[in-house]
Symmetry: C2
Amino acid sequence: MEITGRSLIGQSDIQLDGKPVYAVNPATGETLEPAYHCGGIDEVNRACDLADKAKQVFRVTSLEERAVFLETIASEIEALGDVLVQRCMQETGLPQARIEGERGRTCGQLRLFASVVRAGEWLDARVETAMPDRSPLPRADLRQQSIALGPVAVFGASNFPLAFSVAGGDTASALAAGCPVVVKAHSAHPGTSELVGRAVQSAVAKCNLPEGVFSLLYGSGSELGQALVMDHRIKAVGFTGSRSGGIALTVAAQSRPEPIPVYAEMSSINPVFLLPNALETNAQELATGFVGSLAMGAGQFCTNPGLIIALRGEALDRFLSTVVSTISEVAAQTMLTPGIHRAYVNGVEALSANENVRLLGCGKDGEQPNLCQAAVFVASASDFLVDERLQDEVFGSCSLVVECEDMAQVLSVALKLEGQLTATLQMNDDDLAHAQFLLPTLEEKAGRVMVNGWPTGVEVCHSMVHGGPFPATSDSRSTSVGSSAIFRFLRPVCYQNLPQALLPKNLRDDELSKVSHLWDGKRV
Amino acid sequence: MEITGRSLIGQSDIQLDGKPVYAVNPATGETLEPAYHCGGIDEVNRACDLADKAKQVFRVTSLEERAVFLETIASEIEALGDVLVQRCMQETGLPQARIEGERGRTCGQLRLFASVVRAGEWLDARVETAMPDRSPLPRADLRQQSIALGPVAVFGASNFPLAFSVAGGDTASALAAGCPVVVKAHSAHPGTSELVGRAVQSAVAKCNLPEGVFSLLYGSGSELGQALVMDHRIKAVGFTGSRSGGIALTVAAQSRPEPIPVYAEMSSINPVFLLPNALETNAQELATGFVGSLAMGAGQFCTNPGLIIALRGEALDRFLSTVVSTISEVAAQTMLTPGIHRAYVNGVEALSANENVRLLGCGKDGEQPNLCQAAVFVASASDFLVDERLQDEVFGSCSLVVECEDMAQVLSVALKLEGQLTATLQMNDDDLAHAQFLLPTLEEKAGRVMVNGWPTGVEVCHSMVHGGPFPATSDSRSTSVGSSAIFRFLRPVCYQNLPQALLPKNLRDDELSKVSHLWDGKRV
């Protein structure tokens, strides 16, 4: 597979002549060929027109056809082989093992959604049969299933160039729901995007689907991205990125004549509470675990532990002292882009300049460009409670430890938190009462509550919630990881008194037994 | 039970001294005692503070406790007896049988949600047990359930003083989800609201729930209503009413530091397609069915058939001629409020003045105040396709017939429609191909598609969807009638590696078998 610099609109690949954008190897600063020329309103129009033409055919493909399509995308991505891994390493500075692991996760995710489509739970099929003799009024035959919302715009993330990008979770779940997808490639990894886009394009052709099921565009967020969200044929948006970017898309989507849902996963500092007995017993182990989670992948995860909350005292001092010694050994790692590196340096500088905060310890520095030097800061809970800047996410290996006077103050800190993707309790059996004291608040603040683990590492499965109250996401009722992600792109339709020949296939009497459904309110 | 004019905040009833508002008997123009004094920011603050204090206790009540609470509300409403029916008739001009029927529906709805709570489907429980030996990485124990969003603001509707008001569908589903509710009473039926509010208040006390589970406030939409939606403790909004009102609340909710979901059911003209063979065979029957649906309850239903689409020709002429003769016999009926009557008259006048439209026929007029004189207009499809005013909802017994040249033009009309609550096909066996031609578009335009019925009359059941794309509602992924309405007020939380003692009760090993759940992705 060749890397050409072209946009993919349906089955065409198109050489544009807009402003050229090049990928940069963040480890070397080297510019990578070829140029990717920005598209504009014309390309948005063409892609959305094709998506609109494809939507009715695509949303009524059989469960099996759609599952095979998702599996074909996975095979086509695997068939790209080492070309994909090498290009992705060049564009992101991420190590080979990480890219290969992420490719496995991406293909596994596509296959999970294939199994989800086949199982048919997502249809939420419901039936109430006619009661013509009911008094005072007869009841008509009533059936319900969920249908695809329509074409979805997906904005790839910088930090997962495969798993949250062109064929990542948003695309996989939207396609699984029966929605055509128009992706705006992240400009940090255009070549990786093109390769994966060509794999999807090839799967569309192999499965004889209408070409508008998938397009891949390049361009700036403020022009092409906005135009995409404002296009009347787009019916939902998936986004992973910054808080400002997510809010801008949400505002745009709400300003349309027909507002549409935006699923933006934006900002989270993932508080970890070190409960007193666990801290007393395990201060050193907790410190090394924490630094390991913090430093992983230069801290470039949405679930990076950016906030530690614990009681002031001797046990916390032991924890902090081990953090200092452990972090001092952490090698600087290349960040994904010069822009992300710049934002990280600015964030660390802002904390350093904040008089409510003291620097606890740092990782190693280095000579190469775009290195992330890990940093941990400390603040008192009383300062944290009044200084809202201390909740700003610093994307990278940076974290803040908040020292509390007592458990009541720990609860005050929890109550003060903005919405989060995760909240973690480090505890042992003797901390149960403390955990019960905090848990109701943590459930209300976060989409995932965990015990004795670290928030980095998100299992792709049926029980996962990678979401949470604002600003973690723009819609706390949803998840962007795991099989429930499909529900973001569906809406229910009730069919009243339709003859069997008109009913959607899955709701017909002879097909109903194939999927889980509610019959008169009872699960069958 | 006495009618006092007081606001209900938790278990208190409070005599305010703000601007007084009186109900008006629309049939006589008579002002009804007592005065209801408008609340403001202080009352919003007190109600939201109590709701916030109640939320954690209320959301973890057992399934049985919450079900009994809903059933107790129903019994308390029934115990109000004839006082409620009489007051409601005075405030709405609706006949006794309608009010009694609506009371039955309201209590049935509460009991349906009690059964929904007990069944536990709404928990969407999911479990993936730990795989400590999995390679390359172990899997933690992961469980998911949905939890209540938090306090919900409910805005009662004018046209269902019981079923869509203080203890109507929004309140019932929010309470079922475990959310405290703060209701802003509709100013058209304050006494009815107080009586029902006292029934709910009494149920809260009888069930020993925290008082903040329910409050009832009076005031203007632009002051008290806005203050309620802007209060940081409110986490979702349920609304049924006008398009402008729903959009204003949505904009306010989006402008909060923490945006929240608004479920506004707003505007729908409920197109009915008379397919050629059904029209040919049944023109007269269709005409009388149509006028019956149009005139029912002075047309004051969200699902009133405001648009008829058919092919021009002799069969349509027969239909129209029967419409003229039938509607001429329709007696004028009292509308709910002077404001609604004024809007109806203005809407009919606007159509009469529109040169693209001709008046087909009218119902009888009368001498009493606030009467709805039914009216049917006709326009050509070519005019309909270019004149967007013809899609404006005229709330009341007013409808527009659109004459098309051929089925392609019928499809063009369908494609031009805004989002709808319902879309109806009148058809016989010979119309199957026509129906198949239109159905995919109707599914995309409406929340409920029906055959050979009339859209008025909404069954409260598990398969119902009373929702639809904008502007029918602000969130097409939801319904405000039927058991799925509960999902509007829930969000998923994942629990990772929690000891049994910390897990929510319904997710513990010894409780799981009591509710339907996904185990490793398989339905159990």
